[in-house]
């Protein structure tokens, strides 16, 4: 998947911002979700939402890696 396109990054940013209930502008590529107020349930929600959006399956073992927008893009790129 060519996940580093601006469109994909923006889609994930919006999705994450909605779940964390924060302004999308705050979801920088390197901003840690935890620092933006995400809890463990929100992290699970992000995983399920990304799976649903891009119709892929992300193993739960990847969950600890999904700490920022950049990490999610890396995971999408590795599909």
């Amino acid at each position: 998947m060519k996940a580093n396109s601006e469109t994909v990054i923006e889609e994930v940013r919006q999705l994450v911002a909605k779940i964390i209930e924060t302004n999308p502008a705050k979801v920088d590529l390197d901003a840690r979700f935890e620092d933006l107020g995400a809890d463990s349930m929100m992290m699970l929600e992000i995983l399920v939402a990304v799976e649903k959006k891009f119709k892929i399956e992300i193993p739960e073992s990847d969950l600890p890696k999904m700490t920022s927008l950049k990490e999610i893009i890396n995971i999408l790129n590795s599909r």
Partner: protein, 421 residues
């Protein structure tokens, strides 16, 4: 609203009073709006907008059309909460604010939450399962799972208000909220809690609506009757559903006096009765309500003649209204007591109904004014009672009886004292 002058004649240690009220209803949000609407006989019944009713003959409900939880709770943290939870959160927040009780690190272990709810999770369970079945188990949102358990709204109240004491959910159908009040009183009197936020909540949803429709309990669901909710009127042909939540802060009288809290009423009696012959249908035989009323008045240690009015449970069911009228007639005589039915305005809110009637009763006592039963035009000889037809009226009120009767066999009543506290 001016509080009644209260007289502290006898400060026994087990007297329980109501010191906060929060209401979210189809006729008003907050106790003031709710009371003004009740007093004026305003109807909250309207065409349903939450879901499609085109396949059914019943199309009306007491929907809270403009319900915006964020106006009371703020924007954050509401995204994954279902409607029943948001209704309960708003009503409990309003009740706590009204009580002027501050929850602190010092008192939080002794504050409790008790919620009466039965159908509150039906839509959430249905939607969660539908997603899993249609798109596979991986597609379900884990954050929505908590909505599928019935104790979730009570827990969410504790989380939001940072309450560390008792958290319980009572699920006993139509009488859930009054049974929740009894449970809360027992917890206070056994010193497990010093104050409890107690109430009832139900949301209007397609699943519940269709269930009641299929059971032919809704108005217009049997034949081409006019769809209307007219308790005790001979034209009645079934209930119209509603939704909402009402919460109360209750505590010992001594605690309320100590913190100079506003006192609305004292809860002086409770009774309950189960009619095992009642299976998804009301019965004209009022053996369950009889037991409920009699044991409530007995436990209150007052006479039937002391009661000024009955906050009725009637919802426009042909047999259900006659059942309650039968019980009232038996204990209070024919047309000797006022029996206002507020479901004529807000619809049948099921597990929340006892809390709605309790809120209405307390406000009627406080204002010394009876709210009407609206849509009452044609008397029914099976219901020979004074339902305060169509227009409210002032009345000197000392004691009232609140009924929450149902079609699942469970019936409960509460007795309130508003005068000499």
């Amino acid at each position: 609203m001016a509080h009644q002058k209260i007289q502290h004649k006898d400060v026994r240690n087990n007297r329980i009073v109501i010191t906060g009220i929060g209401v979210v209803s189809s006729i008003g949000i907050g106790k003031e709006d709710f009371w003004q609407a009740l007093k004026q006989g305003k109807s909250g019944i309207k065409p349903v907008t939450l879901f499609d009713t085109s396949s059914m003959q019943s199309k009306l409900a007491g929907e809270i059309a403009d319900f915006k939880a964020e106006e009371i709770l703020g924007e954050k943290g509401l995204r994954n909460l279902d409607r029943a939870t948001k209704l309960a959160l708003c009503a409990s927040e309003l009740a706590l604010h009204d009580s002027e009780l501050k929850i602190t690190e010092q008192n939080t272990d002794h504050i409790g939450v008790v919620l009466g709810s039965t159908m509150g999770s039906v839509r959430s369970i249905s939607e969660f399962d539908k997603e899993g079945i249609m798109n596979g188990p991986r597609s379900v949102n884990p954050a929505l799972f908590s909505n599928t358990v019935i104790n979730s709204p009570a827990s969410q109240i504790s989380i939001r208000l940072q309450i560390k004491g008792l958290s319980a959910t009572i699920s006993s159908g139509f009488s859930s909220a009054l049974d929740a009040v009894k449970y809360a009183i027992d917890c206070i009197n056994s010193n497990k809690s010093s104050a409890v936020l107690v109430g009832g909540a139900e949301e209007l949803c397609e699943q519940t609506f269709k269930g009641f429709y299929k059971l032919k309990l809704l108005s217009a669901s049997r034949k081409n009757d006019k769809e209307m909710i007219c308790p005790f009127d001979v034209r009645r042909n079934g209930m119209i559903l509603g939704e909402g939540a009402a919460f109360f802060l209750i505590e010992k009288l001594s605690s309320a006096i100590n913190r100079k809290a506003p006192i609305y009423a004292e809860i002086i009696g409770y009774g309950t009765g189960f009619d095992y012959k009642s299976v998804n249908r009301y019965r004209f035989d009022s053996c369950g309500p009889d037991k409920s009323i009699k044991s409530a008045i007995t436990s209150a240690k007052i006479n039937f003649s002391d009661v000024s009015f009955v906050a009725s449970s009637a919802n426009s069911d042909v047999k259900g209204d006659a059942m309650e009228a039968n019980a009232v007639k038996k204990f209070f005589g024919v047309k000797k007591i006022a029996v206002p039915a507020i479901k004529s305005m807000i619809g049948e809110t099921f597990s929340a109904s006892g809390a709605m009637q309790l809120a209405a009763a307390v406000l009627m006592m406080k204002n010394q004014f009876l709210a009407p039963t609206i849509n009452y035009d044609y008397a029914d000889e099976q219901c020979p009672i004074d339902c305060v037809p169509n227009e409210g009226r002032p009345l000197k009120i000392n004691y009232s009886l609140v009924n929450a009767f149902g079609l699942t066999g469970q019936h409960s009543s509460l007795v309130l004292s508003g005068g000499r506290i």
